[in-house]
């Protein structure tokens, strides 16, 4: 290991983030290199200074009491809530959700008239992200549209229109069944380059609830139609690609 490589690894070694094998290689270099030893000692001195002279502030008793009180109050009159396992999302997404101040306001107000729409939007994004985080975003792998369409039959009331747009650059890769609210709905999964595209086929009653277009963390949800049925597209494609795809969908019969 040369000194350049070693100095790049030095903070990782110091912070205990190097794997053991690399750690040993680094130590071998350390034995021979006074510069790296000095740099390591400097890091240690800084840590020592910080821990000694910039002590940790402890939470004031008043704050602790305030939170303990609210926790106790919540525990005493909390009705058991129904868990919706399908809403279980990747923790990272929850972070994004909690973090997004403006979007939070639009999504989180239970009393607003747009509540149904917000919940639907939330469900669809959640479904998309959960699918991306899973080993595979699909339940049935497409060899072509003729394997996907029959797969839905019998699992849901109405099988959706299924069309492959591979020649247009949007290949059908499969399908799955997901939930919007308590409805089981079909999801068609396409791929365009590195983008995974989910097409949620919505019940007619729900279609009016789908917003025109909503952006969230670099993902877009857009209302569409598929063979006359309302649908929603969720993907991270750019606007032009999305518009092209939406037009293709609307032409399918």
């Amino acid at each position: 290991m040369d000194c350049k490589a070693a100095s790049e690894l030095l903070p990782l070694y110091f912070d205990g983030e190097l794997d053991r094998a690399t750690g040993r290689e680094f130590e071998a270099h350390l034995d021979e290199c006074a510069d790296c030893r000095a740099a390591l000692i400097e890091l240690d001195a800084l840590r020592h200074t910080l821990r000694k002279d910039a002590p940790r502030f402890s939470a004031p008793d008043a704050l602790r009491a305030r939170i303990e009180k609210e926790a106790a109050a919540a525990a005493s009159h909390q009705a058991p809530r129904t868990q919706r396992p399908w809403l279980a999302m990747a923790a990272s997404w929850v972070l994004a959700f909690v973090a997004g101040g403006a979007t939070l306001a639009a999504w989180n107000h239970g009393t607003s008239p747009a509540d149904g729409q917000s919940q639907l939007t939330r469900d669809l994004f959640a479904s998309h992200w959960r699918a991306l985080a899973a080993t595979s975003p699909i339940d049935v792998v497409s060899t072509d549209q003729h394997t996907v369409k029959p797969w839905f039959a019998g699992k849901i009331a109405t099988a959706p229109v299924v069309e492959d747009f591979a020649t247009e650059g949007y290949a059908l890769i499969g399908g799955r069944i997901d939930y919007a609210g308590s409805e089981r709905i079909p999801v068609l999964v396409y791929r365009h380059g590195k983008h995974v595209i989910d097409v949620f086929v919505l019940p007619t009653t729900m279609g009016t609830g789908a917003p025109e277009s909503i952006q969230m963390q670099g993902y877009v949800l857009e209302a569409a139609t598929l063979g006359g049925q309302p649908a929603a597209i969720v993907s991270d494609m750019d606007q032009a690609e999305l518009a092209r795809f939406r037009n293709l969908l609307s032409t399918s019969k």
């Binding site: 910039a54 939470a59 939170i67 919706r84 990272s92």
Partner: protein
């Protein structure tokens, strides 16, 4: 992980990492009152979204919410430009101490003065570097945990940490608060 109630889970989480939350708030906001309020905001938000928490590092999840609440307060403060009471106020005059006096000061620094100096220098660091130093050196979070808190890639954590350490080290040696360590 969320066997009985997700709300109880958040309560336990917030209470067992309350010092970490408050410490982060103090270093980000500077004020005792603001830090306490931000942590309380964070608790309310975490409780409200408890049902959607689905695994991952719980402490990082909680601290990320705390951090977001602090940043929201900072943004508001900047917007309002009102006078905000900052306790243990950075002593600007001392920070800009002429270098010629540094040696003498080094000898006379008692521990409370040293504390004040470190506080001033940490305060003077840009927020991005300050928070990463607090999370790593004082709260002892791993790179992965810090990345989760800041919602940034690990590479960003590493570069901010390196830069923050270098800046702080320079500031401290420049005015003699930190002794230059002697080799092994």
């Amino acid at each position: 992980m969320m066997s009985t109630s997700s709300r109880a889970f958040v309560d336990d989480l917030a209470l067992s990492h309350l010092d970490a939350a408050y410490n982060l708030g103090r270093w980000l906001l500077g004020s005792e009152q603001d830090a306490a309020d931000a942590v309380h905001d964070a608790y309310v938000r975490a409780a409200r979204s408890s049902e959607t928490y689905a695994g991952g590092n719980a402490r990082a999840w909680w601290l990320a919410i705390v951090r977001n609440c602090c940043l929201a307060r900072l943004a508001l403060r900047n917007k309002e430009k009102r006078n905000v009471a900052i306790d243990d106020n950075p002593v600007a005059a001392e920070h800009w101490m002429p270098r010629a006096e540094a040696d003498e000061i080094e000898e006379r620094l008692d521990s409370s003065r040293r504390r004040q100096m470190i506080t001033v220098h940490l305060r003077n660091l840009p927020e991005h570097f300050r928070e990463v130093l607090i999370l790593r050196e004082i709260e002892e979070l791993s790179y992965r945990e810090i990345a989760d808190v800041l919602q940034t890639p690990i590479g960003t954590v590493m570069s901010r940490l390196a830069r923050g350490r270098a800046l702080l080290q320079k500031a401290l040696t420049d005015n003699g608060t930190m002794e230059i360590p002697h080799g092994l």
